[in-house]
């Protein structure tokens, strides 16, 4: 009879999903959400009346809900269908572009960082040229893909203004300024906040100017077509298309040795094992280390020290054709004294290669005067 259809439908959905939930196997980790999922809490005589047990059990029922990834993606799709353009962590831009939702600018920290750099410069007594290549945020290079009115880059000009105050002492360069329009090549990944091999090349050319090896003379090839980047991991949607990763695949031919933290030797500049893991960007160098010393086959006596964040990992392969020695220091992981590195005697050039946000806001920058 007509009347019973609704009850049958409701009961099957309700009881069906409940039974499937109890019967299905629990997962440990969600790749989509990039986090560990709550396991079935243990019930014993100690915790049976505790609110923690009940809270954990409730989280468990959510985390282990059958087809969780699909439900979560459906929610994201629904939000987008209703016109939402962000989920609090990323903006969903046009053409498959994702952009991080920014934290607000800590102005004091910018001032502190610029003061640290100036101190550092004074310490070197003008004996070494210092350049800073600051990579802009993806949204400032691709504003046409940012959702309309999105409050992104609201404080970019303020940040830049504070940084530019030191450009009488340091050579500050913004590599994409000459690239006002979009070329055929993609300068940033759509699903990750990093720049691509093409983006890094432009910065390379900006640094070495007419000594740059031509793009065509690098052996650049695709090493991955399923790169789900840092933005994707905040997007909670299985329906976003991945990026491809290109790299200078023969860079090892131009490298004699790579030494990590003065102790460990690397066989290759690249870590292909990461192409099968979540964070494929770590394919470049295997991630960030406190100190990396690279000796190349290009014996021109030029030695460069780079204070960097993860952006430099995709940039350094190009430098192997212009420098004999490349040292990379990541102040987030380097805890020894910089002064002990005796920069004036051991290097010919200092480079700061940072994403502009990190340069302005990272609290580790003060370590440069240790």
């Amino acid at each position: 009879m007509k009347n019973k259809n609704k009850i049958i439908l409701f009961s099957s959905v309700l009881f069906g999903l409940s039974i499937f939930n109890i019967a299905s196997k629990d997962r440990v980790f969600s790749n989509l959400e990039n986090r560990v999922l709550m396991q079935k809490p243990e019930i014993n005589s100690n915790n049976i009346l505790s609110s923690e047990l009940r809270d954990n059990f409730e989280t468990y029922t959510n985390d282990q809900f059958i087809f969780r990834d699909q439900w979560v993606s459906l929610k994201t799709l629904s939000d987008l269908a209703f016109g939402k353009k962000d989920n609090g962590r990323v903006y969903f831009g046009k053409d498959g572009f994702l952009f991080d939702v920014e934290a607000s600018l800590d102005e004091t920290q910018v001032d502190k960082n610029m003061a640290s750099i100036l101190s550092f410069n004074e310490g070197l007594e003008n004996k070494l040229p210092i350049t800073a290549i600051l990579v802009p945020n993806k949204s400032s290079i691709y504003p046409q893909f940012v959702p309309k009115f999105a409050p992104i880059d609201m404080e970019a000009s303020l940040m830049k203004e504070k940084i530019d105050r030191i450009n009488t002492f340091i050579n500050i360069r913004y590599p994409f300024e000459a690239y006002a329009s979009i070329e055929e090549s993609l300068l940033y990944y759509k699903t990750d906040h990093h720049w691509t091999a093409d983006g890094a090349y432009i910065a390379y050319k900006d640094l070495v100017q007419n000594k740059a090896v031509l793009y065509e003379d690098f052996n650049i090839d695709t090493v991955s077509t399923n790169f789900y980047g840092s933005n994707y991991r905040k997007a909670n949607s299985t329906y976003i298309k991945p990026d491809s990763i290109n790299s200078v695949i023969d860079v090892d031919d131009y490298i004699e040795s790579i030494l990590i933290d003065d102790t460990q030797e690397l066989n290759s500049y690249y870590a292909p094992a990461y192409l099968n893991k979540t964070d494929q960007y770590s394919y470049f160098l295997g991630g960030d280390y406190g100190k990396v010393d690279i000796t190349t086959t290009f014996k021109n006596g030029q030695r460069i020290i780079i204070f960097k964040d993860s952006f430099a990992n995709a940039f350094v392969p190009y430098l192997t054709r212009n420098f004999e020695k490349i040292t990379m220091i990541d102040l987030r992981y380097f805890n020894s004294s910089i002064k002990d590195l005796n920069l004036q005697n051991n290097y010919d050039q200092v480079l700061f290669l940072y994403n502009i946000q990190t340069f302005a806001q990272d609290k580790n920058l003060s370590k440069i005067n240790k």
């Binding site: 609704k6 309700l14 629904s78 016109g83």
Partner: protein, 463 residues
């Protein structure tokens, strides 16, 4: 435990439904009682004792009042009645208002009494009002004495309306408590009602509430547009949250064979504040009318008395919502508006075009929500001043435009859903297949949002 959770939907509810429908008739109330106690204990294991106390208290006083009346001893009956009222109100005042009294006495007399470390037992404002209504109605002869304490306990603890209403007077369900049959129609309408309520809460209220939370947290630069959007979001959140919860309560009640009273009747369609309060939280209005307004004399007596009665009822209604001065002001605000409407505007209200009345009412309601939303009167006033560009507030900023553009579709849907348009359409084009499809879609979408559930606020923790 809240209805809008995976835990409730796919663990508690299936088990409860199964036990209930498998149980023989005479055990159905016990099943409901045990499940309801479990439901309450899940969130508040210790405070379950207070609810049990309230139950035993009014079961006993009810019997005593009835017996005294039977013996013709009205004074004795009155004594038992006042015992019930004072103990119930005492309990409510202690748990809900002690710290309010203490902080006020501290600031008034520059003292420094420590505030008590007590949490508000969830639902206490609802169940004490319900149990009180039982004893009062016995005294008035409007309700039949319940001689089975377990049946009475079932009434008090009934999980569908325990935590957020509707406020169900004993006389509303006394017959169904003792003897009920469940028809297919009832279950069908129960399912419909429940799914609609769930969708209102999860798809509408939670989402627009998130926007309100962002705006009210002050993370955006101020602008007139931002503040109007903000309070509009709050107005939608509280309506769809509260009415959604009432829908779920009524729907669940229906599934178990109970007919709970309606609580909301499209309040944002009102063309006057008087009308608004006949459509908003109707069971609360009825409770205050029956047990405070009418005993005080209602609208009989001198004009002074009438005005006094309205002030008393509305300030009490205000602070019922929370132990904080802004709620008293909120109640006072409505008292003044209602009096103005009753004694002044009523005469020429029909001369004002309908649309102006509607818009005017909505503006007054939005202003009332500002008072309601902020505990601190300072913050409330500050918010209002921004709404009316009094601080040199700019008309709009980029952030306000972003919020408007990304929430536009949702705001349109919320506006339409605040009217009876959907109801009228469904009544006119009755099509069971489409209806079931829509219900299924709403349910599945709600599940999707619940599974993701990073934000699922429970607005009624103050009750």
């Amino acid at each position: 435990m809240v209805f809008s959770s995976i835990l409730f939907l796919f663990w508690f509810l299936p088990i409860t439904l199964l036990l209930y429908f498998l149980a023989p008739k005479k055990y159905k109330n016990i099943v409901l009682l045990i499940c309801s106690l479990f439901f309450y204990a899940w969130g508040e294991p210790k405070y379950i004792l207070i609810m049990i106390f309230s139950t035993v208290l009014d079961f006993t006083t009810g019997k005593m009042v009835a017996r005294a009346k039977q013996d013709g001893n009205i004074n004795q009956a009155k004594r038992w009645l006042w015992l019930s009222i004072s103990l119930n109100l005492g309990s409510l005042m202690f748990f809900k208002y002690s710290n309010f009294f203490i902080t006020n006495i501290n600031s008034l007399f520059s003292l420094n009494f420590k505030i008590l470390n007590i949490k508000l037992p969830i639902g206490i404002s609802f169940y004490t009002f319900q149990t009180m209504s039982y004893t009062i109605d016995i005294y008035r002869g409007e309700a039949k004495t319940q001689h089975n304490i377990f049946d009475f306990a079932t009434y008090v603890t009934l999980f569908p309306q325990l935590i957020a209403g509707p406020i169900v007077r004993y006389q509303d369900i006394q017959d169904e408590l003792n003897e009920r049959s469940i028809s297919l129609t009832q279950i069908n309408s129960g399912i419909n009602r429940f799914v609609i309520g769930l969708a209102k809460k999860v798809l509408l209220a939670n989402n627009i509430g998130l926007v309100w939370e962002q705006i009210s947290s002050g993370q955006y630069n101020s602008s007139v547009l931002l503040h109007w959007i903000g309070i509009l979001c709050f107005a939608f959140q509280i309506y769809f949250d509260f009415s959604g919860y009432s829908d779920m309560a009524i729907g669940l009640g229906s599934m178990f064979g109970f007919n709970f009273p309606e609580n909301f009747n499209y309040p944002y369609m009102s063309k006057s504040i008087t009308e608004f309060w006949r459509r908003w939280h109707m069971t609360l209005g009825i409770w205050f009318r029956e047990y405070v307004y009418i005993p005080l004399g209602g609208n009989r007596g001198s004009r002074f008395m009438q005005i006094r009665n309205i002030f008393v009822v509305w300030i009490l209604t205000g602070i019922w919502h929370g132990a904080s001065w802004n709620f008293a002001i909120w109640g006072l605000y409505f008292a003044v508006l209602l009096l103005i409407e009753k004694f002044i505007v009523q005469r020429f209200i029909h001369k004002i075009p309908k649309i102006m009345r509607h818009v005017g009412t909505l503006v007054l309601i939005l202003i009332s929500w500002v008072i309601f939303a902020f505990d601190s009167l300072d913050m409330g006033l500050h918010y209002l001043s921004n709404m009316f560009a009094l601080n040199g507030t700019p008309l709009y900023t980029q952030e306000a435009l972003y919020i408007l553009s990304t929430q536009f579709i949702m705001l349109i849907i919320l506006s339409i859903a605040s009217t009876n348009v959907f109801k009228k359409i469904s009544l006119k084009y009755k099509n069971p297949i489409v209806e079931n499809l829509v219900m299924l879609m709403l349910f599945m979408l709600s599940v999707a949002y619940l599974v993701d559930s990073t934000y699922n606020p429970f607005l009624y923790f103050r009750f």
